[in-house]
């Protein structure tokens, strides 16, 4: 459904030009959850931002092709890009505090994509927004609709973000470390919610994370990135249990194992 | 503060060159001026620009170039003194209120606000009317008027820094409050403070010029840039050079420090 070929991203704002993503290839099919794993500086967030069409800075050069419904997102104009953003491609970020506008009510923010991409009346928009808030398992959606971001907890804010990203039923959801800032029990709930959305709506999800065990729980296919390169690419089980690359092995070995000490010794 | 980056900033480079040249000229003026700045030469009244008198002469036949040199020295001393008083007391008040907070903060900052509410020139006028005019009184008056703006800047920087973990670890290592304030936190306010000092310097140059222009600053026969402008205004049409050169000097001084401040702030 979306096909990325030979994506290269190069920055010019430093003294030397610096390539942060090399020859990135990715095909995302309908209803698929793909994980993008790497440490800081691996280029995983850059690739995701490029796919979402959010990299439009003047001091960088992008090469390659991001084909979505026959359009190359890399060299189409702003107008075409905006037609896709929010409507066909949704995105959620790591920090739900800064990715919501602090002075706008939750309802307004969830509706924003509808306002931009549909001709629905005010009432219809509100109805859709409240339905959506309910779908992301927020209690009392009518009340949340009238609240401001600072009145919600981190987990609730991330649910609101998901509702806002999903309101136009996008075909693709890009999730950039959506659970990193959350407590582990909340993290589990958000992951379950993403899984459910994926199953119900057949939304393809690109899940970016530094947490390999989390990615293993959620994704079918995994790309491991390091220093701008995709070093390994395969099914989640294959990568988690039979990694081929040294770097992937190192990543997995770095996750502390919880095994009974008696078994550990033997 | 990232000096490597600052040194490459174009504003900073231009500002340092400009300020450097001005300071060098003024320094040279301390030891040598072509003429005694206060010696009148009736034969040279309103002499034009020539090799003999680089900037011409004023209504008493005094050499304007010599007077600009000694005048900018006076202006600079006043500005430096003003900023020094403002910075020292500003740091002290800002550090104490920002670090301790509480009642001390409330009281000092309300006084600060009250002082801040008056335009600094007005405040300086008030002090001058109490103290009498003269170079040193101008320094004290302007200095006091400048304290609040520095105090605010330092205070907000201290509030930002005092909750950072490095302050906590310094406490655990056994550092006392004063050491934490002045050895640990203060260097971290330097980028902001230095840029404020440059702007303060500009304001002080302008304030001194303004006060001397009004006749309540530096007293004759001492030259200051503001006084020269004030004296020149009666001859604006007959001898425009007389106003032009002191005015240009003020502009160059202010521009130089302005560029320096910009260069510091942007990195």
């Amino acid at each position: 459904m979306i096909r990325v070929t030979d994506l290269n991203i190069e920055f010019f704002d430093h003294e030397r030009p610096e390539t942060v993503v090399y020859d990135f290839d990715l095909t995302l099919h309908e209803g698929e959850i793909v994980g993008l794993v790497g440490e800081s500086g691996s280029g995983k967030s850059m690739s995701a931002l490029a796919i979402a069409g959010l990299l439009s800075r003047k001091d960088m050069k992008k090469r390659g092709e991001i084909l979505f419904e026959g359009v190359n997102l890399l060299d189409c104009d702003r107008k075409t890009l905006r037609k896709f953003q929010g409507n066909e491609i949704g995105m959620i970020f790591q920090e739900p505090m800064t990715s919501l506008n602090p002075v706008k009510k939750i309802g307004w923010q969830v509706e924003e994509a509808l306002r931009l991409h549909t001709d629905l009346s005010k009432e219809e928009r509100k109805k859709r927004a409240i339905e959506m808030l309910q779908k992301v398992e927020l209690h009392e959606p009518e009340r949340v609709y009238e609240q401001y971001p600072h009145e919600l907890s981190g987990g609730m804010r991330q649910r609101v973000m998901i509702a806002a990203a999903m309101i136009c039923d996008p075909k693709i959801l890009i999730a950039d470390e959506p659970t990193t800032a959350l407590d582990v029990t909340i993290q589990e709930q958000i992951v379950a919610l993403l899984k459910r959305i994926n199953q119900e709506k057949k939304t393809a999800i690109l899940f970016i994370s530094h947490d390999l065990s989390l990615v293993h729980q959620l994704c079918e296919r995994v790309l491991v990135m390091k220093g701008g390169y995709v070093v390994e690419n395969g099914s989640a089980d294959e990568i988690f249990y039979h990694p081929k690359e040294e770097y992937t092995k190192k990543l997995i070995a770095a996750i502390p194992k919880v095994v009974r000490k008696t078994e550990k010794d033997s | 503060m990232n000096w490597k980056k600052i040194r490459k900033n174009k504003n900073f480079i231009a500002g340092s060159i400009l300020t450097g040249i001005m300071l060098l000229l003024i320094l040279a003026g301390c030891f040598y001026t072509p003429y005694n700045p206060n010696t009148m030469d009736p034969s040279a009244k309103f002499a034009g620009v020539s090799l003999k008198h680089l900037m011409g002469c004023d209504n008493f036949g005094r050499d304007i170039f010599s007077r600009v040199l000694s005048g900018s020295r006076t202006t600079l001393i006043v500005a430096a003194g003003t900023v020094l008083i403002g910075v020292v007391f500003g740091i002290l008040i800002g550090a104490l209120t920002g670090y301790y907070g509480g009642v001390l903060d409330e009281v000092l900052m309300r006084i600060n606000d009250a002082v801040f509410a008056f335009p600094s020139i007005l405040l300086a006028l008030l002090f001058i009317s109490l103290l009498g005019s003269g170079k040193y009184h101008v320094i004290i008056a302007l200095g006091i008027a400048f304290v609040p703006s520095f105090a605010r800047i330092v205070r907000s920087e201290f509030i930002r820094n005092k909750n950072m973990d490095y302050v906590k670890s310094a406490k655990l290592q056994g550092a006392g409050d004063f050491r934490i304030m002045f050895v640990h936190i203060l260097p971290n306010t330097m980028t902001v403070l230095l840029s404020a000092i440059m702007i303060g310097f500009n304001n002080a140059v302008l304030a001194e010029a303004g006060m001397s222009f009004l006749g309540i600053g530096v007293q004759p026969p001492d030259a200051s840039l503001g006084r020269m402008l004030s004296e020149a205004q009666s001859f604006l049409f007959s001898a425009p050079m007389y106003a032009l050169f002191p005015g240009l000097t003020i502009i160059l001084l202010v521009l130089g420090f302005g560029l320096l401040s910009d260069g510091l702030k942007n990195e």
């Binding site: 407590d183 029990t185 589990e188 770095a254 194992k257 919880v258 | 950072m164 490095y166 290592q173 330097m190």
Partner: protein, 248 residues
């Protein structure tokens, strides 16, 4: 040596709620309720909980940085602390050499040469090269900074180290290195570490005993093995499950 280095009995901490006017009645919220535990010399005690559970408050009361009720007996010199964010815990305007020397300067009694010698020894201990001494914190990577933070905390040779989420801001491979370093140093110096973390895997790897906290109370405590594989409190089970840890 199995004497207790730390005994906490009936610890209560409450924060005053800020009032809108000075005339309102003073209110406070209790953030720690009836906390009691002991810590043995030379052990690593894990402190697990989600945000708002009071982990950091507990650390700060042990360090006597906030007022509390109850008793805290510390059989040790001033404990030192390693913080989560290695960007904020090192003074940004000072060079590494200065930062590492500062504790010794504060303590006094050593000449400049002796201080420099001690700093160099410690630097080697945490696996860094001497050329780093002339750098500023911003010129170092996250992992290097955390090594420096550990070195700075150990300069005064504390017996108790409180590590508040020391690896949560780091990449997983760097995290593993820092954990290994902490363990090594702990063995070598017979250090006691109060290891605060939200990451149950890391705690299992590091700790001998563990306290599970929720909403200002201790829900469960004991030997790590016991707590992870035979937990009595349902909250512990919930945490383990959420972390994807199979204990059946």
């Amino acid at each position: 040596m199995t004497e207790n280095i730390l005994e906490v009995t009936d610890l209560q901490v409450s924060y005053p709620v800020s009032r809108k006017t000075p005339f309102e009645k003073k209110k406070s919220i209790q953030v720690l309720k009836d906390i009691s535990f002991t810590m043995k010399r030379g052990e690593i005690l894990g402190l697990v909980g989600e945000s708002g559970s009071g982990k950091t408050t507990l650390a700060r009361s042990i360090l006597q940085m906030i007022p509390y009720e109850g008793t805290i007996i510390r059989n040790t010199v001033q404990p030192q602390m390693v913080f989560q964010d290695p960007y904020g815990s090192l003074n940004p305007s000072q060079r590494i050499a200065w930062i590492l020397e500062e504790p010794l300067r504060l303590k006094g009694g050593l000449s400049k040469e002796e201080r420099v010698q001690k700093v160099k020894t410690m630097l080697q201990r945490v696996g860094l090269e001497e050329k780093i001494l002339e750098r500023f914190p911003r010129e170092l990577s996250g992992g290097q900074r955390q090594r420096i933070a550990i070195a700075a905390a150990l300069m005064l040779e504390p017996e108790l180290l409180i590590a508040d989420e020391p690896v949560s801001a780091l990449d997983v491979t760097i995290q593993a290195q820092i954990l290994a370093l902490l363990k090594e140093i702990q063995k070598e110096m017979n250090l006691s570490i109060l290891f605060i973390s939200h990451d149950l895997r890391v705690v299992y790897e590091m700790c001998d005993h563990v306290l599970i906290m929720q909403l200002g109370q201790i829900r469960e405590s004991g030997d790590v093995e016991e707590v992870y594989f035979h937990h009595k409190d349902p909250y512990t089970g919930k945490l383990l499950k959420a972390a994807g840890i199979e204990t059946a």
